[in-house]
């Protein structure tokens, strides 16, 4: 995968390169470069299959990381492109014209993270949720437990230890996290 990175970095300004496995690597880059790199990878390097497009919320940095994962079947390897964008307002160029399936991923990201992809088809339609009025649920600052407690009635008699905090509060925790 290193040779691919060397070839790419001769053409585009790229960020860090992480080789996770011999057949999987991640490259960071700037949002402005993304489209041309994707086109180059698709048309010249044989990364024709868009495996997934998803986001990671780095709340503490105030950024979203978008991951575009591409697969090259002939070389049997996957390449992930990491792009960091601002969290508020979150907006990114749409790639639905490169891969029609990307439109579906972008609809999901719009709904679950509130990332805008101008011009992506049917972006404003409801995809998974219906009548959602809170902040997008996959954002880190959305508290699902509080929302569930406020919205749905609990049946008396049920005891649930919150998995997110219960073990943390146990005395044995090594790191205190």
């Amino acid at each position: 995968m290193r040779d691919l990175y060397d070839r790419l970095s001769a053409l585009f300004p790229l960020g860090t390169f992480t080789e996770q496995r011999p057949d999987l690597a991640f490259i960071s880059l700037e949002p402005a470069q993304l489209r041309s790199v994707l086109l180059h990878l698709r048309d010249r390097e044989g990364f024709t299959h868009l495996v997934l497009l998803t986001a990671v919320d780095w709340l503490e940095d105030g950024q979203f990381q978008l991951t575009y994962l591409l697969a090259n079947r002939a070389r049997a390897c996957d390449l992930g492109l990491r792009v960091r964008i601002d969290r508020d307002p979150a907006s990114m160029d749409s790639i639905h014209d490169l891969w029609p399936t990307a439109a579906t991923y972008q609809r999901e990201l719009r709904e679950m993270f509130g990332i805008d992809f101008p011009d992506s088809p049917r972006l404003q339609d409801d995809f998974i949720l219906e009548g959602w009025q809170e902040i997008p649920p996959y954002r880190r600052d959305f508290d699902t437990l509080r929302y569930a407690r406020e919205t749905f009635n609990e049946r008396p008699g049920r005891v649930s230890l919150d998995p997110a905090t219960h073990m943390r509060d146990q005395p044995l925790t090594p790191s205190g996290r």
């Binding site: 992480t18 996770q20 496995r21 057949d23 999987l24 991640f26 024709t48 299959h49 868009l50 495996v51 997934l52 998803t54 990671v56 919320d57 991951t67 994962l69 079947r73 049997a76 996957d78 992930g80 891969w99 029609p100 399936t101 439109a103 579906t104 088809p121 049917r122 409801d126 995809f127 998974i128 949720l129 219906e130 649920p137 996959y138 880190r140 959305f142 699902t144 437990l145 919150d162 998995p163 997110a164 073990m167 943390r168 146990q170 044995l172 925790t173 090594p174 790191s175 996290r177």
Partner: protein
């Protein structure tokens, strides 16, 4: 072939933004909802059809009826606490979730899995694959009116579920694969009872071949119908049997061998015609392939050795920061987990890539155009989609 070059002459014009200009009040079009409460739908989802006469002009898939917010819930659970819930992401073939998630954790935590656990994992995945295909065969036949195949296939699946129960203790959800290995070895005499089950399965498959694949009605309605163009495979992210029926030997078991597949002897099943019949046939032959693989597994599997690696105290298990993607070939295509960790005891982000995500949305919406209403159900089933893995 009508599907490849949609004849749009009598259909609505395209608006500048690329959507169809459909005037519902013209009386020419009718809007029909198929699902979620509908016998001709694959699980809890729906398609919104706009029809002109009995031809579909536009179809929109609506999902989200099964959304539970897994990716959010997993961020609030420690790594080991995620295991009871990951298998519920895809109901008919739950083991893939466990395998992909466990493998992703092992990779990021740097765990070495014992050899024997790899074999048992492969065995479980192949058994699950057979189950999933049997569900499909029943559904595909049922959508074309051959109800009896559903009865036989469900019976055969039940026999296989018995083996699962014997091995793992659960019928549907097994939670057998854990990070570091599997929970247990094989029970006493499992191989011989498995062999009996496989024999039974082979009889059922032969019956299914005679009754379904040689049936004139079934052939009439599926041959040459619902074609996936080879050119669509990459843009629409088609994987698995849907792609293999089009003659593209996309099989991750061969392309990117994982577990013990490199040590097994097999060739990916491919078809040529890419219509509904070929897709059903590829899946039928895949069942036979899985039966063969299970036999090979039993012949080559080590019978002694550890099945679980030494793992840290799972209750306070932190994993160093990193990100990875693990994929495997499930019965519907490429199933993958994208896992990001940040050094804490909880996953930072888990994203599940279900093959149905692309098949049921973009591809189905594309294929449904110009189909006959009566074929919509069969077309949908022939893509073999499971809604829970679309919306998680």
């Amino acid at each position: 072939m009508a599907l490849l070059t949609p004849d749009r002459s009598q259909y609505p014009a395209l608006k500048p933004d690329g959507t169809l200009d459909i005037d519902l009040s013209s009386g020419k079009y009718l809007k029909l909802w198929q699902g979620p409460q509908h016998p001709g739908i694959t699980g809890n989802m729906s398609v919104e059809l706009t029809v002109c006469g009995d031809e579909v002009v536009e179809g929109k898939t609506h999902v989200g009826y099964l959304h539970r917010g897994f990716e959010k819930l997993m961020e609030r659970r420690t790594f080991i606490q995620c295991f009871p819930i990951v298998c519920r992401i895809c109901v008919p073939e739950p083991d893939f979730n466990e395998y992909c998630f466990a493998a992703a954790i092992e990779e990021l935590a740097g765990l070495e899995v014992p050899e024997r656990a790899h074999w048992i994992r492969t065995l479980i995945l192949e058994m699950g694959r057979i189950n999933s295909y049997l569900m499909y065969l029943g559904g595909q036949a049922g959508s074309l009116g051959l109800g009896v195949i559903g009865q036989w296939a469900t019976y055969a699946r039940d026999v296989m579920l018995d083996r699962f129960e014997e091995l793992t203790g659960g019928r549907i959800y097994h939670m057998f694969i854990l990070p570091g290995g599997v929970r247990d070895g094989l029970p006493e005499g499992f191989a011989s009872r498995m062999e009996a089950t496989l024999r039974e399965l082979e009889t059922v498959m032969a019956d299914i071949y005679d009754t379904m694949f040689c049936n004139a009605v079934f052939k009439r309605r599926t041959v040459g119908n619902g074609v996936i163009d080879r050119a669509w495979i990459d843009p629409y992210g088609v994987t698995g049997p849907n792609a293999r029926a089009a003659g593209v030997a996309k099989d991750l078991r061969k392309d990117k061998p994982y577990l013990v597949y490199p040590q097994l002897d097999f060739e990916p099943i491919i078809g040529t015609d890419s219509d509904m019949y070929t897709r059903a046939d590829v899946r039928r032959r895949d069942v036979l392939l899985s039966i063969d693989l299970i036999r090979q597994l039993f012949a080559k599997m080590p019978t002694q050795g550890a099945v679980m690696a030494e793992i840290p105290n799972v209750l306070h298990w932190t994993i160093p920061p990193g990100e990875t993607y693990i994929c495997g070939e499930c019965s519907r295509g490429e199933y993958g987990y994208y896992l990001v960790t940040d050094g804490s005891g909880y996953p930072r982000r888990v994203n599940v890539r279900g093959p149905s995500y692309t098949h049921a949305m973009a591809l189905l919406e594309r294929m449904i155009v110009n189909a006959n209403i009566a074929d919509v159900a069969a077309l949908m089933v022939s893509l073999h989609t499971y809604p829970p893995e679309i919306e998680r």
